[in-house]
């Protein structure tokens, strides 16, 4: 219990580094690390969304490429984040840009899979009547499929965001100084520093989950929420309905 008290104290007060010399700890140090962590995660998420959502919408709308979209997640899950980062460091090099790229790759599968499945699960009747009213393909996507797919899309974003925030913890291996620095380089910050960073990272991940969960609830049409039972829970877990489109 003592260790946790020391760790909390580290967050608020500066200490002399166990490696000698400069100061570590304190609010400004922790904020620097947190900001770098957030920046990296945000950049990766924005790029990943910009790439996956349009692609997922399009594939879902035309009903092709299901195999790719659904199994993207299965494949993505099997690649350990450490291996992905190591691969990038070995083949491309260290640095913010390279690392952000690796994180984009990590973030794409859940968003892509969920966007695709989200569109596929839109009630066919709604789409048909929209087509009957004379809407073009793009209009259908924008006005019918996208809004109805939003809950699942945000479910995917939520999953990716938490993954990215978690993986940004090992960013120091590639030279980007995030909250993982005190965890990986304990000699510079000390044991309290390491525990402090672990606490802050955990809080950050939980906060990301909670905030995006709230956003997901906000974009879910009331009807679906009231339905209760299996359907809403599936959405809340961002779990596509496997019955119709069983992966393999």
């Amino acid at each position: 219990m003592n260790d946790f008290v020391d760790a909390i104290e580290f967050i608020f007060n500066e200490h002399e580094s166990p490696a000698g010399g400069a100061q570590v700890g304190g609010l400004s140090n922790m904020w620097e690390l947190t900001w770098e962590h957030l920046e990296l995660s945000l950049v990766a998420m924005l790029i990943a969304c910009a790439l996956s959502i349009p692609l997922g919408l399009w594939l879902g709308h035309i009903g092709k490429g299901g195999f790719l979209a659904i199994n993207a997640s299965n494949v993505g899950r099997a690649v350990p984040s450490l291996a992905l980062i190591a691969f990038f460091v070995a083949y491309i090099g260290v640095g913010f840009t390279n690392l952000a790229l690796a994180l984009v790759l990590l973030a794409i599968p859940p968003i892509l899979t969920n966007t695709y499945t989200g569109v596929r699960q839109v009630d066919r009747d709604a789409v048909d009547s929209a087509r009957g009213m004379g809407m073009t393909g793009a209009q259908i996507v924008r006005r019918v499929e996208l809004p109805l797919a939003l809950p699942l899309i945000f479910g995917g974003i939520r999953i990716s965001a938490v993954n990215v925030v978690a993986t940004a913890t090992i960013a120091p291996l590639a030279g980007v100084v995030t909250l993982g620095d005190p965890i990986i380089n304990v000699n510079t910050y000390g044991d309290e520093g390491r525990l402090a960073a672990a606490i802050v990272v955990a809080l950050l991940a939980v906060a990301t989950e909670v905030v995006l969960g709230a956003v997901q609830r906000a974009v879910t049409p009331r009807g679906l929420k009231l339905e209760g039972g299996g359907r809403w829970r599936r959405l809340a877990f961002a779990l596509p309905n496997n019955r119709r489109e069983a992966p393999t």
Partner: protein
């Protein structure tokens, strides 16, 4: 004092070789593959033990929560929170409590698996059609018989899907287990992160392990739920 008669041989390194360039070298890999064997088995052990324990706990919780609906929310919140905490952070949050080593790694990995299994078992049970349950009750089955003979078997596809997700995710997370002092393939990756051969072999083995376990579970699923094949064909 007699001089050393033997000499350390200074090798000729004037030429670039695949290995000194940190490249991808099949010959080196073949010669040194045994370096990856022990970490591989450590990795398998970590994954299997974590998923087994996690499955036991979470599926029990799900079956209980299936009948006592008020449990669903609290269990989801708790397992959800555990799921959200990044594994590296978890290893070091546990450090003051469980120390360094296998146990810490397992505790963190199990906590990650709980939500996945819980939600899948529950969703699987929830998806059992009402008519089927009615038919079962009509035949005179008690609640307990209904659960074991009708609901659980019909929930199997979802359960197995959850098991597959749990296994592949755990393989991925177990690469970080060396931070907790539990070995695994991640240790090899971390040892030489610039040597392409090393990264590809160690990382590749992890991916292969995940794929193999995933396929194995799928095969088992197909074998014990033949009726779903007919359904999918519809």
């Amino acid at each position: 004092m007699s001089a050393l008669l033997a000499q350390v041989e200074i090798r000729d390194r004037s030429e670039d070789t695949c290995v000194s360039d940190n490249g991808f070298c099949p010959e080196w890999i073949a010669d040194n593959f045994d370096r990856y064997v022990d970490p591989f088995f450590q990795h398998v052990l970590l994954t299997v033990v974590a998923v087994a324990i996690g499955f036991a706990i979470a599926s029990t919780l799900a079956v209980v929560a299936y009948r006592r609906r008020w449990l669903i929310n609290p269990v989801t919140q708790v397992t959800g929170a555990l799921y959200t905490i990044p594994s590296i952070a978890a290893f070091f949050l546990l450090l003051p409590i469980t120390g360094r080593g296998f146990v810490t790694a397992i505790v963190a990995l199990v906590s990650y698996v709980l939500l996945i299994i819980f939600r899948n078992v529950l969703t699987g049970l929830d998806n059992v059609p009402e008519e089927t349950k009615d038919a079962g009750r009509g035949m005179g089955l008690t609640d307990r018989q209904l659960l074991w003979r009708v609901e659980l078997p019909l929930a199997l596809p979802e359960v197995m899907a959850g098991l597959r997700i749990a296994v592949t995710t755990t393989v991925g997370l177990a690469t970080l287990a060396f931070f907790a002092g539990a070995g695994g393939l991640g240790e090899r990756i971390f040892e030489d992160i610039v040597f392409k051969s090393n990264v590809v072999v160690a990382g590749g083995l992890a991916v292969v392990l995940a794929a193999v376990l995933d396929a194995a579970i799928l095969l088992v699923q197909r074998a014990i739920t033949p009726w779903t094949r007919a359904v999918a064909a519809r």
